[in-house]
């Protein structure tokens, strides 16, 4: 088992003929991901990515023709990247992943609400995507650093996740699924959502949670872990030595009940029994100790 993506994933890539779309679809295909369709308005009927993937004009057409059940959106934020999310929701895709960096937060407030009401799940935006080793790579996480195994990884950060996964693999600890949720102010799927999935997944025996300064998602995750997670959790919080950032007036502190420092987050996680690594390179060792 694994979570969210696996051998049954039938992937659609929105923006497949763009530079990023083509480059990363090629890597996803090479990894063995079942990429069934691409969408670029006006390019319907063509074959993309070295003639391997049929292109459709709309998501609805692509779903009808191929039965796509996951969409990865490679459309950049400059091109109104909430539109392809809403198009995927409207076409009934249950799992949507957005790479776009720099979507205005106010646009995401409304977009998230539409996603939520539809019952679909959005991951990101501004996230590296998902990887279930040996089964499916959806997004930009480098496939060769991962290997199949018992550790579920969930992270706000992109490249820092690769660092942690690489170290796990080197220690002989494979991963069930790696989920990059993104670090934008408004994201579709939170730490809590993914923790819940890992807790329910039989194959996942330990969970790595990688956070960073800002917001209170790690504190909320800590509260959730206390109440709902019986599997061991190892964490790392980036920004432990970062200088105090620019404050968001009084309201930021009032709404969150804190300043979002690494120290606050580490304290909250340690208080519920989570082992917190001092350095990203220590994460793998702590997981090993937890798994005995």
């Amino acid at each position: 088992m694994s979570i969210l993506v696996d051998k049954n994933t039938r992937l659609l890539v929105q923006g497949i003929t763009g530079n990023e779309g083509t480059f990363h679809t090629r890597a996803m295909l090479a990894y063995g991901t079942n990429v069934v369709a691409g969408v670029t308005p006006g390019r319907g009927g063509q074959m993309a990515v070295d003639g391997k993937v049929p292109v459709f004009n709309t998501v609805r057409e692509a779903v009808k023709a191929t039965g796509a059940n996951v969409s990865w959106i490679a459309v950049p934020a400059e091109l109104n990247a909430t539109d392809p999310i809403l198009e995927a929701v409207d076409a009934g895709i249950p799992l949507i992943i957005s790479l776009a960096e720099g979507i205005p937060a106010n646009d995401m407030v409304a977009t998230y609400e539409v996603v939520r009401r539809s019952g679909a799940r959005l991951i990101g935006p501004n996230c590296p995507g998902l990887l279930t080793p040996g089964q499916a790579k959806v997004g930009i996480i480098p496939g060769h650093i991962a290997t199949s195994g018992p550790v579920g990884v969930v992270s706000k950060s992109g490249t820092l996740t690769y660092e942690a996964v690489d170290a796990l693999t080197r220690l002989g600890l494979g991963q069930s699924t790696i989920v990059g949720i993104g670090g934008d102010p408004i994201i579709g799927t939170s730490f809590i959502d993914v923790l819940e999935l890992f807790q329910a997944d039989d194959e996942t025996k330990a969970i790595v949670l990688i956070g960073e300064i800002g917001g209170t998602a790690e504190q909320e995750a800590a509260a959730f872990i206390k109440a709902n997670v019986s599997k061991p959790v190892v964490s790392f919080i980036a920004g432990q030595t970062a200088p105090p950032g620019k404050r968001m007036g009084h309201a930021g502190a009032i709404i969150s009940g804190g300043e979002g420092t690494a120290q606050e987050k580490i304290a909250a996680l340690e208080a519920v029994g989570v082992r917190v690594a001092k350095l990203p390179t220590d994460i793998a060792q702590l997981v090993k100790e937890q798994l005995g």
Binding site: E20, F23, H24, A27, A77, L99, E101, P104, A105, N106, D107, M108, V109, A110, Y112, E113, P128, I140, I141, P142, I145, S155, S157, G158, T159, L160, T161, Y162, E163, D166, G183, P185, I186, I210, E212, I213, G215, T216, A217, E220, A238, G239, Q240, T241, A242, P243, K246, M248, G249, H250, A251, G252, A253, I254, I255, S256, K278, L279, P280, T281
Partner: protein, 379 residues
């Protein structure tokens, strides 16, 4: 992007909210003229983007235009927490009975725009939030429909405004704040204090607006509001190149892809006894040109003795990074040791491109940090 108080005040005024009369001055003479126009007692406030201006002596009252000039002369040029005061707001000094608090903020947890209000406004509002959280009311606006009139009225009565006319004025201000939030793509609009005057009317005495940087592309007019005075030249240059850069006081330059990894890299450098000279995130999918700009920005800091380049490619491709490093090496005047760690997407192609360059390779983050600290000490 954070606006100055006077800029926030101008926006509030443009949206029809009650602000105090006055204007901004860059010289003591201008301050006097503004005080003459306002007539009567004025308050002179330093326009710097840090908290605690009042305690630092940056906010003072003046009874006459002559006194306003003298006070402005004291405040202009003053150093407040490392920032030089270049502008002062000269505003009508008003008397009032009570301070309340009102703001709209993007709430990550509920993924909604939340209104916050309290009958106990003023500088101690965060203390109130800690010691007496019941005194702080929060109300989420519908993500599709926005804040409704009845919600704004509810908020007014719930913070204890009893007079219907006053509650209606409060609701108008709350709706106005929400409209400003949406129309300007803010992530925070705050009035603190919103004061109740002797005649029962409300007036905004101080306000803050934070704009969402990701939405600035659709507000080209806001670019002129940007205060670059307090911003180091290198940060300015970085922003124009699409690079996130924050200058720090150490001597080890860092170039990393991704904010999380960039912070973690700094954490590791410190762990090995080094001091980072900067935070630098080249972002996802950076090309050779961006990498070259980043290296030049780092090396423009004379304190930098060595540079650590840590790239874990996903969307960023190792070969592009390598080309950028080679291009930058051809342009820079100053040679410092470069420790490079390149892994992930196209890392092998990158390593081939860098094979002939005079660099110190490292395979892990720990090794890279250790090496860069060693060479920085050796210089």
């Amino acid at each position: 992007m954070k606006l100055h108080e006077y800029q926030a005040r101008d926006i509030l005024e443009r949206f029809g909210l009650p602000v105090t009369g006055g204007g901004v001055a860059t010289t003591p003479e201008e301050a006097r003229r503004l005080a003459e126009q306002i007539g009567g007692k004025v308050v002179i406030k330093a326009q710097v983007q840090v908290g605690g201006r009042g305690k630092a002596g940056g906010v003072k009252l003046a009874d006459t235009p002559e006194e306003a000039e003298a006070v402005a002369r004291q405040i202009l040029g003053m150093d407040i927490k490392g920032l030089t005061v270049e502008k002062v707001l000269v505003a009508e000094a008003i008397t009032y009975d009570k301070e309340i608090y009102l703001s709209a903020i993007l709430d990550r947890a509920t993924k909604r725009i939340v209104m916050i209000a309290s009958a106990e406004g003023g500088v101690e509002i965060e203390e109130v939030a800690k010691t007496n959280p019941e005194a702080i009311l929060k109300l989420a606006a519908d993500p599709l429909l926005g804040l409704q009139q009845y919600q704004a009225m509810e908020l007014a009565f719930d913070i204890g405004l009893k007079d219907g006319k006053q509650a209606r004025q409060f609701a108008r201000i709350a709706m106005g704040i929400f409209k400003i939030f949406k129309d300007t793509d803010a992530s925070l609009v705050e009035i603190n204090p919103l004061v109740i005057r002797a005649d029962g009317t409300l007036q905004a005495l101080d306000s803050k607006i934070l704009l969402d940087d990701s939405a600035l592309f659709r507000h080209p007019d806001f670019e002129s509001l940007r205060d670059t005075a307090g911003e180091p030249a290198a940060e300015l240059q970085a922003r124009e190149s699409g690079i996130t850069f924050i200058k720090l006081d150490g001597d080890i330059g860092c170039m990393v892809n991704g904010a999380g990894l960039a912070m973690a890299t700094m954490d590791v450098v410190k762990m090995y006894g080094g001091e980072p000279a900067n935070f630098l995130d080249i972002g996802g999918g950076a090309n050779a040109q961006k990498v070259a700009s980043a290296l030049n920005i780092i090396l423009s800091d004379a304190n930098v003795k060595a540079v650590l380049i840590n790239i874990f490619g996903g969307i960023t491709r190792g070969d592009e990074v390598a080309k950028g490093i080679v291009a930058a090496l051809g342009q820079i005047s100053r040679q410092v040791p470069l420790v490079v760690r390149l892994v992930g997407t196209n890392a092998e192609e990158g390593a081939r491109i860098l094979a002939d360059a005079n660099l110190i390779p490292a395979s892990s983050l720990g090794e890279a940090a250790q090496k860069v600290v060693e060479v920085a000490r050796g210089v």
